[in-house]
Amino acid sequence: MTAEAARNLESVEDLEKKQQWWWVAEKTRSRRLDYLRKAIWKKGAIGGLYNPGVKVDLEFGLLAMESWNAAQVLADPKVIQFAKHLAHYLDNKTIFITDHAQLVGYVGSLPHTVFWDPTMGEMLNEEIYNDSTAIPEPVEESIKTVAELCDFWAGKTMQSEILPTFDIEDMMKVMSGAVGWGLPMSRTGYSGKDYEYLMTGKRAFQDILDELNQKIEEADYRIHNETPTPEILDLYDKIDCWEAMTIMLEAGMRHAKRYARLARTLAEQFEADSTRREELLLVAETCEQVPAKPPRSLQESLQYDLFIQLFSRTEAVEGAWPSRPDYYHGPYYQKDVNEKKRLTEQAAIDLVGEFLIRAAEVGQYKPRWTKEGLQGIDGTWVWTLGGVNKDGSDACNDLTIAFMKAARQVRVANPTFALRWHPEVRDEVMREAFECIRHGLGYPSIRNDPVLIENAMFWHGHPVEEARTWLHQACMSPAPTTKHGFQPMRMASATANCAKIIEYVFTRGFDKTVNMQMGALTDDPRKFMDFEEVKTAWSAQMESIFGLLVRVVNRGRATAPKTCPRPYLSAISERSVETGMDVCDPSLSRGNAWITGFTWVENADSLAAVKKLVFDDKKYTMDQLCDALEADWEGHEAMRLDFVNNAPKWGNDDDYVDDIMVWCLRDVARFSKEMKCPSGNNWPLLPENVSGNIHYANMVGALPNGRRLGDALYDGGISPGPGLDKKGPTAVLKSCGKINHVEDGRAFLLNQRLSPSQLAGEKGFTMWKAYLKTWADLGLDHVQFNMVSDETLRAAQSDPEKYQEVIVRVAGYSAHFVDISRKTQDNIIQRTVQGIG
């Protein structure tokens, strides 16, 4: 008997007892959902390579080359030319409708492809040429096409456009990849959306288009009828910008009509099954309505959202999906399910499940460093659930619950959820969240709404009503969804490999991985006489790294409207429609930048070890320590163990090291207020990791906390080092509680592993709630849980075929365990399993 046949004989109850939730889901979801779930081509990479069968999409490049050549005879302004390229793509790309699908749209041409925009940058293009697995069949022919595209776009890409605008020293340091990620341009990163403008049912694309045309007419009238003065000079650029926006909206509406036409043709000419025919006609009707006109039903609302996201991903490579789906789609669920009873609850959950699937299948080709840093997923689609309304009342609704039920049915690793917890959240909602976690999804993460609203007001001056609209801009950072509050582009370059701060204290700023002088040339550590000198060098390196990243992103933000405009994103943003300025123009934004702090906690543990063993106990000299670190601890194993085991470690409620952690954060917070973004706002730190701790493992040298080059860095945020938090869960929370989660930084990620068997049943829920109460009382802003046993994870390592569906929480995201590298898997298994209660 095959394993599948044997499983089919097992009852749902038996599978539940064995906590094999993935088989429970398969057995209990509808046939439609089951088909769609299994139809997904996973677009996350394992380490640096895509899954077998996933291929790079050449269609955009070829169509863009076609429209570029055609455009050369016209003298269009750059922004209009760009909009026309995108429109040409949307008009001519291949579209498809999967069997059983009720929601449609994909960023690439076919389900197994990852979208590639060769106009983005030469580095990415060369990487694709070098890729050993993702070149489509027939490979020889495709390689020639890739080479042709690389050659064609060389010198014409965004990268070529922006590089000369940066300071050469700063740009070379950033491009080394040792301390920050990627290039600071407004077409790679995370795009927030002005959902308050777009998703409240008041308007859709046609309404905006009408307004834009009126704006163009008025401006045109002014230019030709007013007395010429410098006042009208900026109208020329504005007209271009508005016109580009109209091109994008019209293209978006035409694109949806293509789906409507396909669905109708299939219904009328291909489909024999009457139920499916009805479904296809509804798809056609839906795509005739949205995005042109505001949605009228849950299906239309979800489809509208999907189109909005996909168009944005055609314009830019987006590594996140800021969304608050229960809040904005909730009224349609209420109308369809509760009031008009057009949909049963199960049908609505199926639709929501399909919405998750449509998001899960999105894939855009990412460079190797992103694939490694976001293993197993295409980007961090962390969707925000719950929270409060603008007036402070509970915003949870029936769709909040439906999303969590749907998540347990489809079990995708991306998108994931984060729940905005506040004291008024109903038990019913918390129970659903707990069930998701207990079923091993690793989500929702729990966010402390009151703390984060206060934090948003403290750091960025958001008015309280605006702050209350917040959603996750990426994994962790809250950003509002309002006209001036939303962030159009968070450039990932301000993502710091923070372990380099303490490393550079010992190398005087020289980076041995990329062989460059990266940090500040601080004093010779061998001559340090006291701990204060170590701290002084640490501050200097911190300022040097953060200063570098902030400088380039500030410059990128300031030049973005000219170098890489976003006509589509502008078209769906009130501030741009109103002003005719690109959405990324810093003058339109309140500004809510942050520095993501990868590999942060190593700093506190390393500093504490130096203080304790060198300056307090005087067991070793700085010379000895420098020698050991230079040798990567090779030949100094006993000393290394001393630095691990006989120095206090973060996460054990030990003031010795916790005070150092707080000092580090407050030193950064001081600098965060000195640095300003182009909108004039602060640059707070947000420690978290995704899987950057693995990506950077071979780039960060030996550290005084006892790690060697190659060892995984800690799993991130303010999570203690794996296995080093030995005093239990409350001690972890107490350490974290010493940080002021409002004023010491933007947000602080905390990973915790809990035991699935300990937390089984009603008792488990009660214990978990008690744990969360302590967490909330201590004022922490975030916590997320892995609840999959070591036994399951090891079994999945040895028999991956059997455990394809096991999901784990990596850092700010979840991934299928089989889709992450062995080293990342081991790093998760190494984490301490906390017993609570």
Binding site: I46, G47, G48, L49, E122, M123, L124, N125, E126, E127, Y129, N130, D131, S132, T133, I135, A147, C150, A154, L163, I168, E169, M171, M172, M175, S176, G177, A178, P367, R368, W369, E372, Q375, F510, K512, T513, V514, N515, M516, Q517, I694, H695, A697, N698, M699, G710, S821, R822, K823, T824
Partner: protein
């Protein structure tokens, strides 16, 4: 050479690295990617990297090659750079072509052209 000039050279090295290997398609017997002194770049995918021994003012494609061992920043080169004339070339005993693990610049050579 001023620091800015040095960096311009580094940048030129990196950007030209994106053109040369594909254009030639002929892999030399001794290439930087097979040398134990080579470290793949942190971004790695585009095939660029740097040398642990040679510094920025070096040029191993010149005839005779120029060796700078004194400057601060390392010599920027690429996996497929012909290192036939470089006197510091030292053949690696172990090259890791597994692309599913995470980047280890000292060993990793996962690009398609290095797979054979």
């Amino acid at each position: 050479m001023s620091r800015r000039d040095e960096l311009r050279k580094v940048q030129a090295g990196r950007l030209s690295a994106q053109r040369a290997p594909k254009a030639t398609q002929v892999k030399a017997e001794k290439i930087c990617g097979l040398c134990s002194n080579y470290s793949e770049g942190a971004f790695s995918g585009e095939g660029a990297g740097s040398c642990r021994i040679l510094k920025v003012k070096s040029d191993i494609s010149a005839d005779p090659p120029k060796y700078d061992l004194e400057s601060t920043d390392g010599y920027q080169t690429m996996n497929l750079m012909d290192a036939g004339k470089c006197q510091y070339y030292e053949k690696m005993s172990f090259v890791d072509k597994d692309g599913t693990e995470c980047s280890d610049p000292r060993y990793r050579r996962s690009m398609r052209q290095m797979q054979d």
